[in-house]
C-alpha cells in the first residue's frame, strides 16, 4: 500500500526533474545542431529537423579567422594565471597554518577580497597594465586573471590545508624537516585535491572571461577565444551559422575538462566554502 501511495509522487518528481533538464540543455543542443547546418536553412526553417549536417561552417570559420592562434592565446593566459595564482595561494595558505599575531588580519583581508566586485576596477587595471607596458599582451591579461582569481583560490586551498591534522607538521618538524621541506614534501602532496580543484576553477574562469580580455586587447596577438567570439557577432551579423560554429569551438574544451574532472569539480568545489 505504501508502494502505491508513493508511486505517483515519484512519477511527478521525475517528470519535473527531466523537464528542467530539457529546458536547461535544449538551447545547447539547438546550438550544436545549428552549427552543423547552412546559414540559409537556419533562416528558412530554423526549427525543422535538419536534412543535412556538415562541418562546412567550422571549416569556414577556421579558414577566415586565426582560431588556432586565439585558442593558444587563451590556453597560455589560463596557464600563466593558474601557475601564478596557485603558487601564491599555496604558499600563503601554508604560512596561515601557523599561529601568529597578524594572522586574523590576513585572513579577513583575503576574505573581504572574495566579495569585491572586481569589475569596478576596469580603469585601474587598464591604467596599471598600460603603465607596465603589457597592454595588448597575453601576460597582461594573465596577470589580471591571477589577481582576480587569487581570493577564491586562497579560500579553496587554505580550506583544504586546514583539514590536514596538525600532528603531521609537528612530527615533520621533530624529524628535522626544514620549513620548505615540510611544505614541498608533506603539505603540497597532501593538498593536491584542493589545489587541483582551484586549478580547474582558474582554468575555466580564465577560459571564459570576456570583460578584461576585451579591455586589454587590441590585436590578434593577445585576442582570446571569448573576445574573438564577441567580434564574430559584429563581423558575421548575417551569418549566424558561422557564429554558432565559433561558439561550439569555444565551448568544447571546457566540456572536455568538465567531463574528465567531474568528480573533482563537483566534490572539491565546496571544500572550505561550506563550513558549518
Amino acid at each position: 500500500m505504501k508502494y502505491n501511495r508513493l508511486r505517483p509522487a515519484r512519477g511527478l518528481l521525475y517528470l519535473f526533474l527531466v523537464l528542467v533538464l530539457i529546458i536547461m540543455l535544449i538551447p545547447f543542443i539547438w546550438l550544436l545542431i545549428s552549427s552543423l547546418r547552412p546559414n540559409a536553412d537556419l533562416f528558412h526553417e530554423p526549427f525543422a529537423i535538419p536534412k543535412t549536417l556538415s562541418f562546412d561552417n567550422f571549416k569556414a570559420v577556421m579558414q577566415s579567422h586565426p582560431m588556432v592562434r586565439y585558442f593558444f592565446n587563451t590556453v597560455i593566459a589560463a596557464a600563466l594565471a593558474t601557475f601564478i595564482t596557485i603558487v601564491s595561494a599555496a604558499a600563503a595558505s601554508y604560512a596561515l597554518l601557523n599561529r601568529f599575531r597578524s594572522k586574523g588580519l590576513w585572513v579577513s583581508v583575503f576574505t573581504m577580497c572574495l566579495f569585491v566586485p572586481t569589475n569596478a576596477f576596469m580603469v585601474p587595471y587598464y591604467v596599471m597594465i598600460n603603465k607596465i607596458g603589457l597592454y595588448d599582451s597575453i601576460l597582461g591579461i594573465a596577470l589580471v586573471y591571477a589577481g582576480v582569481n587569487l581570493p577564491m583560490s586562497l579560500m579553496v586551498i587554505s580550506g583544504y590545508m586546514l583539514t590536514i591534522p596538525g600532528e603531521l607538521l609537528e612530527s615533520a618538524k621533530i624529524d628535522g624537516a626544514s620549513v620548505s621541506q615540510a611544505f614541498r614534501r608533506i603539505i603540497l602532496p597532501i593538498s593536491k585535491p584542493g589545489i587541483v580543484t582551484a586549478c580547474v576553477f582558474i582554468v575555466i574562469n580564465s577560459w571564459n572571461e570576456l570583460l578584461f580580455a576585451n579591455l586589454l586587447n587590441q590585436s590578434d596577438a593577445s585576442r582570446t577565444i571569448q573576445v574573438a567570439i564577441r567580434s564574430f557577432l559584429t563581423t558575421f551579423e548575417a551569418n549566424y551559422a558561422y557564429a554558432f560554429a565559433a561558439m561550439v569551438i569555444s565551448i568544447v574544451p571546457t566540456i572536455i575538462v568538465y567531463a574528465l574532472l567531474t568528480d573533482r569539480i563537483i566534490g572539491g568545489m565546496t571544500a572550505g566554502a561550506v563550513k558549518g
Binding site: I23, A92, V148, I266, A273
Partner: protein
C-alpha cells in the same frame, strides 16, 4: 616558522592583493575627484563627478537594475537551486547523472550563453518565437530583447535557470546532515515534504549564507548578459552598474565618471557583505543559546 620565512611565504599573495585590490581601490578613491579622458591631463573637479553620476538618469537605471538583479538572485535563483537540491537529495534513480547535467551550463562561458540566448530570443529565427508559432500561440511571439517591458527579464532568465553551482553548494551541505535524523522522522510518520521542511531546511543555513554571498557577488559583476544581449538597451532599460562603468570608460572616455560608478559598486558590495555577516553573527548567537 620564523617571522622572515612567514613573510616570504605570504609575499606573493600579498603582492597580488596589493596590486589588484588595495592599490586599485585607492586609485578609484583618489582619481574619482578628477576629470580625465584617459589620455590627457587630469583636472581636479572636486565632487563634480559624484554630482553628475547621482543625477544621471542612466546611472539611476543602472543602479535600480543591479538591485533588481540582486532580487532575482534572492527570489528566483537561490530558491530554484534549493528546490533542485532537495529533490535530488531524495535520491531518485539517476540523481547523480542529473546533478552532473544540471551543472554543465556553469562551465560554459557566459559569453556563449548570452549569445545563445540572444539567438533564442531572436524575433525571426529564434527558438522561443518558433516554439510559440509551432504550438499555435502566434500572438504571443514578441521581439523579446527589443521591447522595454521584456528586455530586462529576458536578460535574467538564463541566470535564473542555470542554478548548477548554487544547487551543488546546497547538496554538499545536505550530505553532511546525519541520515539518522531523516530516518527517525520517517519512522514517526513524516512525509517527504515534512522531512525536507523540518529536518533538512533548518540545517542548510550555512549553505544559504554562502549562496547568498556568492550570488550577490555574481550579480554585482554581471556584465556579459546585458553587454552581449542588449548592449544596455532598449532605451537603457537593461543597463546595470558593470555595463555603466564599461560604457563611461570605453564608450565615452569619461574615466572619472566610470570610477565613481565603480566606487558605488564596491560600496554596494561592502554593504551586502556587512549585512550578510550580520545575519551570520545573529545565527551564531542563537546557536550559543
Amino acid at each position: 616558522m620564523k617571522r622572515r620565512q612567514r613573510a616570504l611565504y605570504l609575499a606573493p599573495a600579498a603582492i597580488l592583493i596589493l596590486a589588484f585590490f588595495v592599490f586599485p581601490l585607492c586609485y578609484l578613491i583618489f582619481i574619482s575627484f578628477y576629470q580625465w579622458n584617459g589620455l590627457g591631463a587630469k583636472t581636479f573637479v572636486g565632487l563634480n563627478n559624484f554630482r553628475y553620476v547621482f543625477s544621471d538618469p542612466v546611472f539611476q537605471t543602472a543602479l535600480k537594475n543591479t538591485i533588481v538583479w540582486l532580487a532575482a538572485a534572492l527570489l528566483l535563483h537561490i530558491p530554484f537551486g534549493l528546490l533542485l537540491a532537495l529533490l535530488l537529495n531524495r535520491k531518485p534513480q539517476g540523481w547523480k547523472f542529473m546533478r552532473v547535467m544540471y551543472f554543465i551550463p556553469n562551465v560554459i562561458s557566459t559569453t556563449a550563453v548570452a549569445f545563445l540566448w540572444y539567438f533564442i530570443y531572436h524575433a525571426d529565427v529564434g527558438l522561443l518565437n518558433n516554439l510559440l508559432r509551432s504550438v499555435g500561440l502566434e500572438n504571443l511571439t514578441h521581439a523579446w530583447l527589443n521591447s522595454i517591458e521584456t528586455a530586462l527579464i529576458s536578460n535574467m532568465v538564463p541566470f535564473a535557470l542555470y542554478v548548477g553551482l548554487t544547487m551543488i553548494i546546497f547538496m554538499t551541505q545536505l550530505s553532511t546532515v546525519p541520515k539518522e535524523l531523516a530516518e527517525a522522522a520517517k519512522v514517526d510518520g513524516a512525509t517527504d515534504l515534512q522531512i525536507d521542511l523540518k529536518v533538512y531546511l533548518p540545517m542548510l543555513k550555512p549553505a544559504v549564507i554562502t549562496n547568498i554571498m556568492l550570488n550577490l557577488a555574481f550579480c554585482l559583476r554581471t556584465f556579459e548578459y546585458p553587454f552581449l544581449m542588449t548592449g544596455g538597451g532598449p532605451a537603457n532599460s537593461t543597463m546595470n552598474l558593470s555595463l555603466y562603468i564599461y560604457k563611461e570608460m570605453v564608450g565615452s572616455n569619461r574615466y572619472g565618471i566610470s570610477m565613481v560608478a565603480g566606487l558605488v559598486t564596491i560600496m554596494l558590495g561592502l554593504v551586502i557583505m556587512i549585512a550578510v555577516n550580520f545575519m551570520q553573527r545573529e545565527r551564531g548567537k542563537r546557536r550559543e543559546i
